[in-house]
Amino acid sequence: MKLRVLRLLAVVSVPALVLAACGGDDAASSSTPGAPADEPALDGDIAVFAAASLTDAFTELGTAFESENEDVSVEFNFGASSALREQILAGAPADVFASANTSNMDQVVDGGASTGPENFATNQLQIAVPAGNEAGVTGLDDFANADLLIGLCAAEVPCGELGREALANAGVAPSVDTNEPDVRSLLTKVEAGDLDAGIVYVTDVLAAGDAVESIDIPADENVIATYPIAALTGAADAAVADAFVEFVLSDAGQQVLDSYGFDAP
Amino acid sequence: MLHAAIEVHLGAFRLDIDVDVDDGEVVALLGPNGAGKTTALRVIAGLQPLDNGRIELDGSVLDDPAADVFVPTAERPIGVVFQDYLLFPRLSALDNVAFGLRARGHGKASARNRARDWLERFALAEHAYAKPRTLSGGQAQRVALARALATDPRLLLLDEPLAALDAGTRLQVRTELRRHLATFHGARLLVTHDPVDALVLADRLVIVEQGHITQTGTPAAVTARPASRYIAQLVGINLLHGTATGEHTVRLDTGAELTVADPLPGLDIALAIRPQAIALHRQTPDGSPRNAWAATVTDLEADRDRVRVSLAGPVPATAEITPAAVADLDLAPGISVWATVKAVDLTAYER
């Protein structure tokens, strides 16, 4: 549906642009899905601040976007959404923000740094255990076991907040050994076997491949994380920023996200 | 009894001396700076190893490279008084003196008691709790000596014991030190560059120059017949070298000829002239003194109630005259004078 709207917009804007450009620019071979072939080529650099759990998916999205727009370069800053939010509100030079939860995005919007965020993906939680699952973890109940080394994300970051919600849903009071500052460092410790189990996103487990095994959380206990994305008002290159957001929301973008384990918004 | 045959190589410098010290004897190693005296002392103390030779104290071998024997410093029955005393700054005088006793296993109280006895013997009882930096030079030296003696060593080594004192204090402390040294009955070896220290404190002198011994003997013997220019200068005597050209005449290395009263003892001659025996004149002297030469004044130096006049010329020497004479003769550096000395005032001995 989005694509149709865009096509409509494009058709309408082409005459306007042609009039404005008066035959100046060469038509780029830009085949960004959704952007008509005869729109002027995108040109610029953007900085995308994205949640840590989006690292692999967005890196691929960035490469794809760059290869379809030769004069564009995309730089990423991956980190905990809360940390990124703070940086943006403090005036960091970001063009796009993709958050792992809506509350961080809301705060950015409230801070006047963005308008019109859109949800582009959802994620669910999963229990990650080291390959081999030596501790024999079977579900959230094991998180109450004081003999196991259990890790969660810190409560201040989205994955930590959601993880605690899932545990509450399951009625488990966890015996936590560490609250890692972001989901990637938690995953690293599980992978290395320094922890027996941790609650991370489904996408993280997928990204870790064979190094990590996973245990599903029943749907009635699990929590859905909604990921919004928005171009920021302070963007130096608004056109490119908007185009990237559209790319993420496009079919091609959604396919990439799906391949990494994200669900549709 | 110390037998030390010392051979040490330090880069280009070579120290090669033999020193024996009997119980009850005070021997002074006297020599210019850089002669190797302090090195010799450090080797005897074990702070530096021998390259060749042997050090034996009371029959026990302390260092013998050939036999691969080396007794570490801490196990040698010695006491050392260092040039700067090296009193431990954070310990009181009492604890400094007690240190060696504590090191040898005495309890704190017993060590302190014996240390107190030593301080009393050196009239330092009231400074027992003072820190070294509050002590005067003389007091610090006595504490250092007490500290070294407190452990009943078999050999006492002193490195320039008066060097850290100013001239006024040195005089008094030297006399006291002589008295204190006399109370210790083991072997005593001191190292100094100051001839007066050596002459006052020692029973026997060992003169060390550039790593070698140039003379040994009692203070009287050495001052009477200095064997090298250094020693002669040290004791304030002019020493000239020459060759006998007759029974009573000596041609100096500079070419000048001097006549002596007594028959010459050999061919290679050392002539000793006391500075006081040289007379100075502005004009050619009356009469016909056998020994007269033209000289140029190069320096005038006041020395208590006398003036030492350095003379350049065929007979390089230093004369000693009264200030009145200096005024009479109107002497100043650069002035030409005539110098004379009586034949009977020239002492000749074989080199």
Binding site: E86, E156 | F82, L86
Partner: protein, 270 residues
């Protein structure tokens, strides 16, 4: 009679070369301005509230304890190491010194990761120890101490080594002539004479340990009351509760000043 202030004459004698003062002032300003900005943003109105919360008390207690413990270990191991580096000669001495200084150069997180590889549950040493005794450093207070010691000890070693080099070795000769054994010389002469550099080194080490973050969070983890030190608490609070973060920072600064200000010049000089 012209009466001058007693300090005036002395001040005249110590006038600095003209370039030195402005540069020194710039240095002080550069360090002072961020603190001033921090103070300006501080939530003075509800500071006592924020500071009294359990998370703050726990973090402070943990920071103090672990920094002190790390300094203690650094003294115990670092002084002998400094002595060996300063006084002995052996092949590979420069390599040893470079190794000891390495934690200063490494990003702390790298240090933390390396500590995990060594002492983690599957670590080189940690694995066998865990398998046989069940003892584990990560996720415990001793893990924090280990991380702190790793990053802070080099400061102590370097400082003490330089102090030992500067010390007069002749006092040790004198002690030897009095019959002191090598261990007695070390205890009663070497270490007391090196006291100023030991104090300075301990202060540096303690300060570094107090501020340590990267190695701690990577190796020991983050758990209130057990491994969440002040720097970790501040880091997390920065994203969720700015005011709390600033309050925590102020507490840390106040405590540090309380320790650093009373340091007398003469304890730090020879």
């Amino acid at each position: 009679m012209n009466r001058r202030r007693p300090g005036a004459r002395r001040a005249k004698q110590q006038r600095a070369p003209w370039l030195v003062l402005p540069l020194a002032a710039a240095a002080v300003a550069y360090v002072a301005v961020p603190f001033v900005a921090l103070l300006q943003r501080a939530p003075w109105s509800n500071l006592s509230d924020l500071v009294g919360r359990p998370v703050v008390i726990d973090a402070l207690r943990l920071s103090m304890t672990t920094a002190l413990a790390a300094t203690g270990i650094a003294l115990l191991l670092g002084i002998p190491l400094a002595w060996v580096l300063a006084r002995t000669r052996f092949p590979g001495r420069s390599a040893a010194r470079a190794l000891v200084i390495l934690p200063m150069v490494l990003p702390p997180v790298v240090g933390g990761a390396a500590l995990l590889f060594a002492f983690g549950r599957r670590g080189l040493l940690g694995g066998p120890v865990y398998d046989s005794t069940g003892f584990l450093l990560p996720f415990s207070m001793w893990g924090v101490v280990a991380a702190n010691t790793f990053v802070a000890m080099p400061f102590l070693v370097l400082t003490v080594e330089s102090g030992l080099r500067a010390a007069d070795p002749r006092y040790e000769d004198a002690a030897a002539t009095l019959g002191a054994s090598r261990s007695m010389i070390f205890r009663r002469i070497t270490v007391p004479h090196a006291a100023p550099s030991i104090i300075a080194g301990a202060v540096l080490c303690w300060a570094r340990a107090l501020g340590e973050f990267g190695a701690t969070v990577t190796f020991a983890g983050n758990l209130q009351g057990r491994t969440q030190t002040m720097p970790l608490a501040v880091f997390l609070a920065l994203e969720s509760d700015r005011d709390a973060a600033i309050a925590l920072s102020l507490v840390l600064i106040a405590v540090s000043l309380a320790v650093l200000l009373p340091l007398r010049d003469r304890w730090l000089s020879v």
